[in-house]
């Protein structure tokens, strides 16, 4: 399938990282096995008893208007999720402290609105950053950490300190 076909998928805010895509694919695979088992037992399509979906999977199906009771849809989705897992661009974000899911969802929403609609995040932790965030896109690095800010202001601090010492 072409990348234009993959771009039609809308990622919900709860779908943050590549691991979430893998979790969707695994959940879809479990669903496929369950439906196949029910089909073998002679159940009709309308009478499939579907298991409870996780929130990201349910939101993904809802926002993309997918009917997983349809075998063709499940087959295409399985294929597309594998492709999305490998081809979706990833932005690495490194924080000084642990980022809670709420913050990550807010950042994900902003990034998908402003940067890329299908961007996934890879979260790292580096206390030496003090604060802010260290952003790494596929080819560039953007250091928005307090550490970088302090290093930028190093000359200013030296100048101020020299002024205090009367040099």
């Amino acid at each position: 399938m072409s990348e234009e076909g993959l771009s039609r998928y809308v990622f919900p805010p709860s779908l943050v990282s590549r691991a979430d895509i893998s979790r969707l694919a695994r959940e879809l695979e479990n669903l496929e096995n369950e439906v196949e088992a029910q089909r073998v037992r002679g159940a009709e399509k309308a009478g499939y008893h579907l298991p409870a979906f996780s929130t990201p999977f349910a939101e993904f199906l809802d926002q993309n208007k997918l009917d997983v009771t349809d075998a063709q849809t499940r087959m295409h989705l399985t294929r597309d999720l594998r492709a999305l897992k490998d081809k979706t661009p990833i932005i690495h974000l490194t924080f000084a402290t642990d980022a809670n899911p709420v913050i990550l969802q807010q950042l994900t929403e902003w990034i998908r609105e402003q940067i890329h609609p299908q961007a996934l995040l890879s979260i790292g932790l580096q206390p030496g950053l003090v604060g802010g965030v260290y952003v790494r896109t596929p080819n560039k690095v953007h250091d928005f950490s307090f550490k970088a800010m302090l290093e930028e202001k190093h000359s200013v601090m030296l100048k101020e300190l020299d002024g205090l010492n009367g040099r």
């Binding site: 003090v130 965030v133 596929p138 928005f144 550490k147």
Partner: protein, 212 residues
């Protein structure tokens, strides 16, 4: 009592002496009357006088009288010895007293000399000790001043070095300070506006990089 005895003896001897003189004078007068046959009678007379004197002497200095004289002489001798012993004792006591006084004076003089020498030596030793202490105090003061100067220089050098290091590592120090003091207190909620603002500033670069 002894004096009376002595007077008595002397009186007796004097009476005997004058009696003897009287007898001699009388016999001389009697002998002057016959010159021829006189030589023989004179010799007889002398002989008879000698016998008489001898007999009187024997009669006068008999055994009892000699014993009496011996006792008196012994007593006298003992008295003289006692007196001499007393005089000797007095002289000896006086000599001992003088000797003690002399010894006291000599010992006092010697002790005074020794004490004077001792005091002088003590004074000299005290002066030496005071001089030594003054010198030591001066040395200690000099060393203290030198140490103060050295420590002052060292402190100044260290202060300068620390300031230099502090200035050179200001970013790291502040980073460490902020990390230790604020790292756990500033959560991402408060940082989120800053993060989004910085990403907004660099949104163009990030979008172009994601399109590639």
């Amino acid at each position: 009592m002894t004096t009376w005895w002595l007077i008595f003896i002397l009186g007796t001897l004097t009476a005997v002496f004058f009696g003897f003189i009287w007898i001699v004078v009388t016999l001389s007068r009697l002998g002057g009357g016959g010159k021829v046959g006189g030589k023989r009678s004179t010799e007889d007379l002398n002989k008879s006088y000698s016998d008489i004197v001898e007999e009187d002497a024997t009669h006068l200095f008999n055994k009892e009288f000699r014993e009496e004289l011996r006792n008196r002489g012994r007593l006298r001798f003992e008295k003289i010895i006692d007196e001499n012993a007393m005089f000797l004792k007095q002289d000896l006591d006086m000599t001992i007293a003088q000797l003690n006084e002399y010894m006291k004076k000599q010992i006092s003089s010697k002790l005074e000399q020794e004490f004077a020498a001792y005091s002088k030596a003590m004074g000299e030793a005290q002066e030496l000790a005071i001089d030594s202490l003054k010198k030591t105090a001066t040395d200690v003061e000099q060393q203290r001043n030198a140490m103060v100067d050295a420590m002052q220089k060292e402190v100044t050098a260290r202060e300068t070095a620390m300031i230099d290091v502090y200035q050179e590592n200001m970013a790291k120090i502040i980073e460490h300070y902020l990390q230790s003091s604020l790292g756990e207190t500033i959560d991402l909620n408060s940082q989120l506006p800053y993060i989004i603002a910085r990403m907004e500033e660099n949104k163009k670069d990030m979008v172009e990089d994601m399109r590639l």
